[in-house]
Amino acid sequence: MHTVAFPNKILPYLLLAPQIVLTIVFFFWPASQALYQSMVRQDPFGLKSSFVGLANFRNVLTDPSYIHALQVTVVFSLLTALVSMGVALLLATAADKVVRGQGFYRTLLIWPYAVAPAVAGMLWLFMFNPAMGTLAYLLRRNGVSWDPLLNGDQAMALVVVAAAWKQISYNFLFFVAGLQAIPKSLIEAASIDGARGNRRFWTIVFPLLAPTTFFLLVVNTVYAFFDTFGIIHSVTGGGPAKATETLVYKVYNDGFVNLNLGSSAAQSVILMIIVIALTAFQFRFVEKRVHYG
């Protein structure tokens, strides 16, 4: 907090007004509406509504298709985070080893960050669509019965790869920064003690990277939960047979497509609770003492 301040009385409110107005109109008001709607039941024409307490939540949480969507989301998020972080860590350690060309490699590796999730999904779909994708064609010619339009696991694999691909840049940049922050003297000490290559990585480098890894795990989970709607919507549409229907996709589908307002609102509120929990977790536990170069 600054000890020195300007003495104006009205001005600060005027300065804050644009942000506060937007926040109320587009954040708090809709969020309170979601809370309200999650506790009423409306007839399909929106003419009558009656207060039903927590019935909508009970319906949602006991609905097998919601539980299924939750499982799908967890599997999807974990796989996306693992694949993306694994690849990024491998690339970051490689970048740490090379002396020349680091800038060149970085320039080429940050491209996917700029690609919209929906477009990232479409790029992978172009390659792996069974009707016209050249890579799908190659898979089939080599005896893999590849058809993500019918096979749920293959559809999941496709959206995970697209989602992880897009996130590689982000994870790469943070891992590189994390690696640079490790004191060289520690690595030197380890190598004098005879620890080489793999051993040095797993016993010295990886533990010291833990704060970065943990931070990225949270960020990637949030990304996979909320920012991948475009990928699901453009690649699989939640199919086949809801095999890739995530929670966010289901809120959209139930509310916007099937117009089931009470259920959609209750799902929104559950998602809000998940975001609040993740944000609180991030603020409370994620180590902030990582030094970025």
């Binding site: 600054h2 790029l123 172009f126 016209m132 919507h233 975001v275």
Partner: protein, 282 residues
């Protein structure tokens, strides 16, 4: 380097080159597809070398090709995306700059209440309040308008935090000196704060431009009229695997044009991009 290890370094280059192939291949594949004919695209395997129809595809897609498919010209889609991305980035920066300025350099009742209100928006991404926010837009008559596409995405806690964080590092003496010289708050903002914040603003701009350009769920909901689509929504509407008449060459051209501008921004403003990425997450 601790030891001279040419083999490790060579291995590093090898891994990185494979990484670049993985990262670049989907984009390369789409680029190749955008230089060939629709017939060649739907009959795999497609050649992985550029076809001879690049100029033809791009000019046709630009001049009427895309318009025949989705009822809106490619340049209009591009314009919409540019407009939305820049409006969101600039709007967010201005709004956040002003509110952070108020919170750091003034003392007034309910200051912390406002601060927490802004903080709470972190926990309410569009995805969790889809329907009610849509309803607000409908009630305000903002469907199919640029205001509807941009305003709801302009309130941002992260940008406000970044500015607040930075303002707190500005020594109080500077404020005092300004006040002794009879500079009012606006003078202080314009002549001292703004120049000091320029790198932060550049860094935020890159991140927010990408954020605006890559929006999907929101423009999908608030645009019914094809003329208001962003290029990403337009692209999505062109892609139809069940329709035999889908002009895949135009689809590929549109996909390339949807990813080139943000990639250019990230690559050309790389220094600020990395700074922005790291700082907004702190």
């Amino acid at each position: 380097m601790i030891e001279k290890r040419p083999i490790a370094s060579l291995f590093g280059h090898f891994i990185l080159i494979i990484g670049i192939i993985i990262v670049a291949f989907p984009i390369y594949y789409t680029f190749i597809a955008s230089t060939t004919t629709s017939e060649a695209i739907i009959r795999p395997p497609m050649s992985l070398l550029p076809g001879g129809h690049m100029v033809e595809n791009y000019t046709e897609a630009m001049f009427g090709g895309v318009e025949r498919v989705v009822g809106v010209s490619l340049e209009r889609l591009l314009f919409n995306s540019f407009f939305v991305a820049i409006a969101i980035a600039v709007g967010k920066i201005i709004i956040s700059f002003l509110s952070a300025f108020a919170i750091v350099f003034f003392r007034f009742p309910f200051r912390m209440v406002f601060f927490w209100m802004i903080f709470l928006t972190l926990m309410l991404p569009v995805e969790v309040r889809i329907l009610p926010t849509y309803k607000v837009i409908v009630d305000l008559g903002l469907i199919d308008t640029y205001a509807g596409l941009t305003l709801p995405l302009m309130a941002s806690a992260t940008a406000t935090f970044l500015f607040r964080q930075f303002f707190l590092t500005i020594p109080g003496e500077l404020v005092e000196a300004a006040r002794i010289d009879n500079a009012g708050p606006f003078r202080f903002m314009r002549d001292i704060l703004l120049p000091l914040s320029s790198t932060n603003i550049a860094a935020l701009f890159v991140i927010l431009f990408i954020y605006g350009w890559t929006q999907y769920l929101w423009p999908l909901m608030v645009t019914n009229d094809a003329k208001m689509n962003t290029i990403i929504i337009g692209l999505r509407r062109m892609v139809d695997f069940t329709d035999a008449s889908t002009p895949w060459n135009y689809v590929m051209v549109t996909a390339i044009l949807a990813i080139i501008p943000p990639i250019l921004v990230v690559v050309l403003m790389q220094r600020w991009f990395v700074k922005g990425l790291v700082e907004t997450e702190k």
